[in-house]
C-alpha cells in the first residue's frame, strides 16, 4: 500500500495533464491549473528541504569535529548571517520583518542582504566559475590532441568558430573577394552554425525528445519507480 498509492497519485495527475493537453474543455483545464498552483507550492517546500538537509549535514560535521570542520562552521555562520539579514530587512524592494530598514540603509548604502549579495555572493560565484577558463587553457595545451579524422573535424570546426567569433576575424579574411564571400571567417562561422550545427543539434534534440517521452511514459504508468527511492 505504502508503495502503490503514490504510484496511483502519479498516474492520475499525469493522465489528467495529458488529457488537458488535447481537450480544451472544462473540467480539464481547471484541474490542470489547480495542479500547477499546487506544484509551485510543493516545489518551494522541496527547495526548503534541500537547503535544510545541507545545513543539517554541515551541523553534524561541525558537531562531530569532522576533518575541516572549521570551514563548515564558517559556512553555517555565513548562512545564519544572510538568513537573518534577509528575514529582518528583506532585499531590494521587498520589506522584511522590520520593514525596509531605512536606518541601516543610510549607514550601508544598501540593505544588508544586498550588501552581502553584491560584495560576497557575486564575487564568490562568478570567480568559482571563472576558474574554468584556466582549466580549459591548460587542457588546450596538454590534452586536446588530434587523433583521427573525426576529432580532426571537430578541431577544425572549433578553430574556425573560435577565430570567427573574435574581432580579428573580419580583418583576417577581408581580402577574400565578394564572389566567395561565404569563405570569410564570420560568414563561414555563421554558415557552420546555421546549417551543419543545426542539423546535428536537431538530431540530438529529436533523440532526446524520444528519451523524454519514454521516461515520462514509464513514470506515469508506474513502470519506472526509482524516483520513489529504494531501488527498482
Amino acid at each position: 500500500m505504502k508503495r502503490n498509492l503514490p504510484l496511483i497519485v502519479a498516474f492520475v495527475s499525469g493522465v489528467v495533464i495529458l488529457i488537458a493537453g488535447f481537450i480544451p474543455r472544462d473540467p480539464f483545464p481547471r484541474i490542470e491549473s489547480t495542479l500547477i498552483d499546487w506544484f509551485m507550492i510543493i516545489s518551494s517546500f522541496a527547495i526548503l528541504l534541500g537547503q535544510a538537509s545541507l545545513l543539517r549535514m554541515n551541523v553534524i560535521r561541525v558537531a562531530e569535529k569532522a576533518p575541516n570542520w572549521q570551514y563548515y562552521l564558517a559556512g553555517i555562520i555565513s548562512f545564519g548571517l544572510m538568513l537573518a539579514f534577509g528575514l529582518l530587512w528583506g532585499m531590494e524592494k521587498t520589506p522584511g520583518l522590520l520593514g525596509q530598514g531605512q536606518g541601516i540603509v543610510s549607514q550601508l548604502g544598501v540593505k544588508p542582504f544586498d550588501y552581502l549579495f553584491e560584495n560576497a555572493f557575486i564575487p564568490l560565484s562568478s570567480t568559482m566559475f571563472s576558474l574554468l577558463a584556466f582549466y580549459i587553457a591548460s587542457a588546450a595545451y596538454r590534452a586536446f590532441i588530434i587523433r583521427n579524422f573525426e576529432s580532426n573535424l571537430l578541431m577544425l570546426t572549433a578553430v574556425i568558430v573560435m577565430l570567427g567569433r573574435t574581432s580579428f576575424a573580419p580583418m583576417l579574411t577581408g581580402w577574400i573577394p565578394d564572389s566567395l564571400g561565404w569563405l570569410r571567417l564570420p560568414e563561414l562561422t555563421n554558415f557552420i552554425m546555421q546549417y551543419p550545427n543545426t542539423a546535428a543539434q536537431r538530431a540530438i534534440l529529436i533523440s532526446a525528445a524520444l528519451g523524454i517521452v519514454g521516461a515520462s511514459l514509464r513514470i506515469i504508468l508506474g513502470i519506472e519507480r526509482s524516483y520513489l527511492g529504494g531501488g527498482k
Binding site: Y135, L210, R218
Partner: protein, 370 residues
C-alpha cells in the same frame, strides 16, 4: 503619353478586380478548437487605409477601442472571454490622406470544443510511439529476444583492459559525479558490471572512486556480483571501491591524485560529468592512460572527444548499458525510441518530397494550425 495612360488605367483596373475578388475584408469568428474563451478577428483592408481602430461592444452596447496597431492584413485574438456569449466587434479603417474611413462590423458566439484539432498530428504520433515503447517493453518482459547492435565502444573497452593487463597496471572507473537517481549513473553501473567481469577474468586490479554513498554501495554490489560471476569471488577487495568526497572539485582533486599515484593504464569516465570532465581527462592524458569516456551531458562530449581515445556519445551510453544488462525496461524503451527514429526519417523524407512537388498540406499537418 497615351501608352502610359492606358498602362495606368489597366493597373487601376487590375487593382479593382483583385480587391473585388478578395475574401471578406473583415471576419469575426469563435477561435477554433479552443476552450471557448476567445474570439478571432481577421481583416484584410483595401489599399489606401493607413490606420485602424478595432472596437468591441461593451455590456451597454457602446464600442470601446481594444486594438489600434496598423496592419494591412492582420488578426487579433480577444481572449479571457466568457464561454457561450455573443461578442460584437467593429473595425474602423481610416484613410487620413483622403480624410475618410470605412467601418466593418461582425459578431461571434464563443464555444468550447471537445478536441483541439490542431493537435491531431501530435496525438497520432504520440500514440504510435508510446504504443511502440510499451509493446517492446512487454515483449522484452515476456522473454522475447530483441536485437540491438553492439556498440563499438564496448570492443575498445575490452581492448583497453587487455592492454592494462599486459602492463600489469590497474584500471580506473569513475561512474560520473551524479547520484543514483540519474539514469546516467545507472547506465554507468551496468557497464561497470561488464568491465568488472572482464577485469576479474584477466586478474587486473579495478579502482572505483565514488562521490556519493548511495553510488558507493551500488558500485560495490555490482563489482562483487561480477567477480562472483567470473568465478573469482576471492579476488574482490572492498577497499578498491571507495568513497572520496561529496564536494565536486574535491572529488576531482582526489581522483587526480589517484591517477598520479597509481598510474592506471586505462581510465573509464562513464556517467554524468560537468565542468570537471576536462580536468580529469587532462590528468589522465598526462599519465599516458588509454581513456574511454561516455556521457549524456552534451556540453562535455566535445572535451571528451578531443582528450580521450574513445567516447560514447549521448544515447550510446544507454544503448551500451541496455546491451550489457538485457534489462527489459531499458531494452524495450530503446527499441521503442528506435521505432520513433525510423518514423522521423521516413516522414522527413516524405515531407521533403512533398515540399518539392508543392504539396504544402503535408508539412502544415505536422506544424498544426495556430
Amino acid at each position: 503619353m497615351k501608352k502610359t495612360l492606358t498602362g495606368l488605367l489597366l493597373a487601376l483596373l487590375a487593382c479593382v478586380l483583385t480587391a473585388a475578388a478578395e475574401q471578406p475584408a473583415f471576419s469575426v469568428q469563435d477561435n477554433p478548437w479552443d476552450d471557448g474563451t476567445s474570439v478571432l478577428v481577421k481583416w484584410d483592408l483595401a489599399t489606401g487605409a493607413d490606420s485602424l481602430s478595432l472596437q468591441k461592444a461593451d455590456s451597454l452596447g457602446v464600442f470601446q477601442e481594444i486594438f489600434k496597431e496598423f496592419a494591412q492584413t492582420g488578426q487579433y485574438t480577444d481572449s479571457s472571454l466568457e464561454i457561450g456569449k455573443d461578442f460584437r466587434y467593429r473595425l474602423v479603417a481610416y484613410n487620413q490622406a483622403r480624410g475618410d474611413s470605412l467601418v466593418y462590423q461582425g459578431s461571434a458566439r464563443t464555444k468550447a470544443q471537445w478536441f483541439d484539432m490542431n493537435k491531431l498530428s501530435l496525438l497520432i504520433l504520440l500514440v504510435l510511439i508510446c504504443g511502440a515503447i510499451l509493446y517492446y517493453i512487454f515483449s522484452a518482459r515476456r522473454g522475447k529476444d530483441l536485437f540491438i547492435r553492439r556498440i563499438s565502444g564496448l570492443d575498445s573497452m575490452d581492448e583497453a583492459i587487455g592492454r592494462a593487463t599486459e602492463k600489469g597496471r590497474p584500471i580506473l572507473f569513475v561512474p560520473g559525479i551524479s547520484d543514483l537517481g540519474d539514469i546516467q549513473t545507472i547506465a554507468a553501473l551496468n557497464i561497470l558490471s561488464h568491465l568488472a567481469y572482464k577485469s576479474a577474468e584477466y586478474g587486473t586490479e579495478l579502482l572505483v572512486p565514488c562521490r556519493f554513498s548511495m553510488v558507493l554501495s551500488a558500485a560495490r554490489e555490482t563489482v562483487k556480483e561480477a567477480y562472483l560471476k567470473a568465478g573469482k569471488p576471492d579476488a574482490y577487495r572492498e577497499d578498491k571501491v571507495f568513497y572520496v568526497t561529496d564536494d565536486q572539485f574535491g572529488f576531482v582533486a582526489g581522483v587526480d591524485g589517484i591517477m598520479l599515484r597509481e598510474q592506471p593504464a586505462a581510465n573509464f569516465f562513464l556517467g554524468a560529468f560537468w565542468a570537471e570532465s576536462l580536468i580529469l581527462t587532462e590528468t589522465g592524458f598526462g599519465t599516458g592512460a588509454i581513456q574511454t569516456a561516455g556521457t549524456g551531458q552534451p556540453h562535455q562530449i566535445p572535451f571528451f572527444v578531443v582528450s580521450c581515445d574513445y567516447t560514447l556519445i549521448g544515447e550510446e551510453l544507454y544503448a551500451a548499458s541496455a546491451y550489457i544488462s538485457r534489462d527489459p525496461q531499458q531494452l524495450g524503451s530503446l527499441k521503442g525510441h528506435d521505432f520513433g527514429k525510423l518514423l522521423v526519417i521516413l516522414l522527413v523524407l516524405a515531407g521533403v518530397v512533398m515540399e518539392i512537388i508543392g504539396a504544402g498540406w503535408f508539412k502544415q499537418f505536422f506544424e498544426g494550425g495556430s
